[in-house]
Symmetry: D2
Subunit: 408 residues, 4 copies
Amino acid sequence: MNYNTSRLNVLSPDMSIADLKAEKLNKLTEIVSDVAGTLAKTVIERDKAGGTAKTERDLIRASGLLHISLPEEYGGWGLDWPEILGVVRTLAQTDSSLAHLLGFHYLQLATIDLYGSNAQRDELYQGTIKNNWFWGNALNSISASTTAVEQDGDYVLNGKKYYCSGAVDADMLLISAHFCDKLLVATAPTDREGITLNHDWDSFGQRQTDSGSVTITDLKIYQHEVLTSPGPAGSIRTTTRTSLTQLLLTNVYLGITESAFEQAKQYTLHQSKAWFASGVGHPGQDPYILRNYGNFWVQLQAAAQLVENAVDSFQHCWQLGNNITNSQRGKCAVDIATAKVFSTQTGLEICSKIFEVTGARATSGSQGIDRFWRNLRTHTLHDPIDYKLKELGDWALNEEFPEPGIYS
Amino acid sequence: MNYNTSRLNVLSPDMSIADLKAEKLNKLTEIVSDVAGTLAKTVIERDKAGGTAKTERDLIRASGLLHISLPEEYGGWGLDWPEILGVVRTLAQTDSSLAHLLGFHYLQLATIDLYGSNAQRDELYQGTIKNNWFWGNALNSISASTTAVEQDGDYVLNGKKYYCSGAVDADMLLISAHFCDKLLVATAPTDREGITLNHDWDSFGQRQTDSGSVTITDLKIYQHEVLTSPGPAGSIRTTTRTSLTQLLLTNVYLGITESAFEQAKQYTLHQSKAWFASGVGHPGQDPYILRNYGNFWVQLQAAAQLVENAVDSFQHCWQLGNNITNSQRGKCAVDIATAKVFSTQTGLEICSKIFEVTGARATSGSQGIDRFWRNLRTHTLHDPIDYKLKELGDWALNEEFPEPGIYS
Amino acid sequence: MNYNTSRLNVLSPDMSIADLKAEKLNKLTEIVSDVAGTLAKTVIERDKAGGTAKTERDLIRASGLLHISLPEEYGGWGLDWPEILGVVRTLAQTDSSLAHLLGFHYLQLATIDLYGSNAQRDELYQGTIKNNWFWGNALNSISASTTAVEQDGDYVLNGKKYYCSGAVDADMLLISAHFCDKLLVATAPTDREGITLNHDWDSFGQRQTDSGSVTITDLKIYQHEVLTSPGPAGSIRTTTRTSLTQLLLTNVYLGITESAFEQAKQYTLHQSKAWFASGVGHPGQDPYILRNYGNFWVQLQAAAQLVENAVDSFQHCWQLGNNITNSQRGKCAVDIATAKVFSTQTGLEICSKIFEVTGARATSGSQGIDRFWRNLRTHTLHDPIDYKLKELGDWALNEEFPEPGIYS
Amino acid sequence: MNYNTSRLNVLSPDMSIADLKAEKLNKLTEIVSDVAGTLAKTVIERDKAGGTAKTERDLIRASGLLHISLPEEYGGWGLDWPEILGVVRTLAQTDSSLAHLLGFHYLQLATIDLYGSNAQRDELYQGTIKNNWFWGNALNSISASTTAVEQDGDYVLNGKKYYCSGAVDADMLLISAHFCDKLLVATAPTDREGITLNHDWDSFGQRQTDSGSVTITDLKIYQHEVLTSPGPAGSIRTTTRTSLTQLLLTNVYLGITESAFEQAKQYTLHQSKAWFASGVGHPGQDPYILRNYGNFWVQLQAAAQLVENAVDSFQHCWQLGNNITNSQRGKCAVDIATAKVFSTQTGLEICSKIFEVTGARATSGSQGIDRFWRNLRTHTLHDPIDYKLKELGDWALNEEFPEPGIYS
């Protein structure tokens, strides 16, 4: 995949990050390549089938990829965000549903670091390594329907959570609920009584993300399971959870679009025929097809540069820890929003226009090339792009940073 | 459906075409409305299922719509192209697969008029009325693989035809084959020995058009079934078959896009919620949502004007009959290509961007809103838009008309 | 100028408007052609010079074009808006400043009909014919700085008016002022004491429109000069003045863009050289140049259709007179706004991209090809296009008509 | 100028390039800031006047900026391309004509290094330092009209050179001529007999670049003035002259666009009024204006990232010296072409759309805001963007590098 100049090589042994041993990266490259290779074999039929990718989730479990973001002190790989997000983007080039789920696993683990106490981090990170937990999401703070009441020092939760990506088949969940005026964020095993996974995700894209609903009925949450500093209302550092969420999505968007480009390229080179009026023998010599590929290239390069810049920006913020200032957080949020907007716009255009360089036969269901547009279209609707642009305009014109929140 | 200012009212009794009785139009309006209403009930699930829409094809058979393009002297309705294509566009607003098939039925009937002798027209038009034939397409002259040999004054055909929209469940077919240096075009009943319908259409869009392949094995074609003046190599008038094909497709494109707009509108009005950062109570007051609808409106109006202009232009050419000159044919081809290019570009953009005015929940499979992009994307790849633009540029700059051919 | 299919032929004798004699149209065609021919000779140097086009205004005076919108009963030509606006658009294809001024002359005359009494119309229309008055604009109701006080049954005005297109060298002016809570609209000869033309128009486009300011100092306005039913606050019919203003501008936009297209075409055909890497002998055979021309063509056709539709819509409203309903007015306003938005967007793109089909040498000052972008850019900023889209969105989504006002 | 995240800070003392002393960068920052400040005072009126910016060229001469690209061993500053091109981009943010001329000065000096012998480099670099030569361009190899004949071991040239940016008021010129089948490249003092500067640059943009023609009449060129390894036909390294030319232009494009953005921003903040229908008190709160600024921001960030990536890529190639391989050269050419295409497309859009965030009054000639579009439009036509896209498509699809030539 030579179209990308930099980050796709993140996993190659010649990368210049001094504290990562070449052997470690060699191993990671091999793992990701193996997993992607296996996912690729069934991705088109699984897109058609939807539902839970149980076999593939177990493949990820077995691969060791669930541990790469955890510190070495707990037995993790201790990778930085450029590498972690590089794994997500690379897997998204093959299977954007599974990449999404793995990315959200890393997000939940980061959330424990951001929101929890040291003791909670110790316990949960050790548990993750020891039990090879796959984490899922039931933390969607915009939905106000789930509430907690106190009971003997613990809590009882009731309500319904939506867009719980990866809750199905998760071992552990992050769950949020409204308690008095605060947002309570807690962890719980998925199989605890009171948690019902509804298996109701039916969107036309990202079909194996199980982003459906979870019903919470008299769910007991123990005091020690409540993360101590919950939610966007906390310190500046805790608000970078939103930044990470947005950045994960952006890497998935880019991976989808890179994949669309690559599949189109292979199709044009090996399956398309020259248009009868083109006067050339192979579509790879057609002036209009070349022009379209040139346009895709330019847009993809710009997207990749912006995404990689945002990843570096986030890593910088992450390393600042609790010392992060509002303006450092703000600048990073701007970088991420910039990359997200551009990747969205560019990605949708490329995923729709690739058919103009492959021709009519590439619409065959056996090729599954429509999944790129469906996946990206579904995944880019969490928060409206116009409001993202407004936020960026407020920065560009008024030099006001985005206000930390659930989408910014 | 108030978004369209003119042609959607084609079927209303106040239209000012003197030779059409108000009663006839009232009846047509009623029929189309009934058929569309029935199709609408199952269109989303049938899109998922694909395959042959046998029940719906029989509904069309029963409706009388198969006869509207035939002259009154044969028992048809004697409608002009603005009305016939108005029916196609209106049905495409509900079910673009069935609209495509009905449109191609009209195309085959027009082909008989263009290519056949008076005797052939008499026989086949009478047969169509009497037997309520639904015509299908096996006339794809670009594929060179089907050939004919002469045998005792008749012909025997062998080969395979692709993109045979509507051949499955058709009563009669138009079939083409290469015979010596000529293109032989003939009619035959679909159930004749030697015709095998392969039921292999599997594109991700226009899923109920049965646009798959037909295998021809030792198919006997009788001399009287061969249309006398076949193919684009014939007189100027015969070359307007291509114009009609392109114009039919263009009306389907427009209908798809109008439908996407309308479903998005109803969703925004009745199901979407205002974005929390918008400061308004209803999405219908959101400044960005309104701006997007404004853009959709402007593009749709321009598309509709161009399509209606092209329809009028074609009707004018049709009425000229054999007197049509090269420049009259050329001007009409330019009008149609202009409408086709614009409808394609605009339609793809609208069918993808509508989700930005409905929000994430509208990606639910139960809504089926992705089908508009899938149908349009699949259907707009017959001939590359860049070459269409080149042709139009040759006209705009060099004042050269498109050369009559299978796509121009 | 064969690129336009319909309205540019408005002045040809084969037009099918029954009540316009062929001789009259022959004469009009000849006049417009003569005037345009003369304007063309100096338009590039006059664009550089800016200032008042005194000679060219006198040419228009001498041509008889100042009378074509007036009813035959007063000695005018009695033309309808399609013809009047056809003249404006045709002249804008040569000189968009002078076309603007002539269009505004027609606007002031229409204003008298809309706002004034029958007696005022009689007097001022007769005066226009008899004295060959060229009317100018000092009626910009958004600026609140000019006020009127009553004095002995008449009025005294003080203040400053901006964007007074064509006030310089005008014989008569329409002037507005705030009087109590109302807008007072009156006519006055330009040379009356108290009117100072400031000759301060210095925008980079539409440089000979003299759209600068007018200082009003103790200007006496007699009772009989005050039009009886002033302003947008009046009846529905009076509010169509705004519609006409917007429609005039839109016709000028289209004329500018058509002219840009035509000059580029002539340049490509006769002065450009084929790009060395194109492999063709003439730029007219270059696949990318052809594609660009195809794009220009499609956009121009759509713009022309929308503009002509809006013109017909306005003519229909005009003929309704005082019977016009709010929804008829609203539909026409939507048609005009649609055409205006599209012409603006398309025009700016074409006027900037034409250089990509002419090449670097076409930037020579002697060609003046940059004036199209400068004229259109300057002229399309009266009211923000985003708010126009919002208005159209309110119609498209909520079925609310634009509220009559100074820009809608 | 906070809108740019990285390279605009190139001149600030905290940059992390170890081998550049903070003092040197402090001094450079000060010089560039002073020069830009002085240029800014007259840039609008000089744009109107056109012609040779003699005073400003002398200001640059006096500033020391003519020496920064020369190695320290000759008394130059020894800066790398990121810093040199940072100066060009920064000056282009104020005055894109002078930035262009200074950039071309650096280009001629680099050409001596690429094409000349060590002795020639010694002599001409020393002469440049000692005499403070400002170099100009008469090396336009595409024009075949200038030829050389041998005479007594030296050469005599005749012909006419076009697009000789900065030849007027240059102290020294690089001149090319066709000699037999080769391109002869030589240096000569501008005041040598036989060189006539025609002062005929009259494009509507980049008006003070003196990019007109030079007439060559019996011009004597001595043997030692002929650079030894002339032209694109030479080694791989010599072909990077084209890369540098394209990269210089790209930095000027970006500087122009950044400047357009900045002037628009200041205008919106301090001179625009809120639109009456916006319901906000200041245009900086208008949702549509904010959205537009957000779009500008995203595009500018992407452009800046691509340009900076291309600059780094070129610096890398430069440092490889004669060891550069074809694929290293090719990759750099792809990076530069990518940045150039994107900067062109994005820049033209921004420079035209800024008026939609400033409003109509910003078209005043006193603001000169149209110069951004004029400068960029003029400067982006050297080679057609469609062919650049084709080249990039050939890379993206077929993995073929651009063939080295006068534009690639």
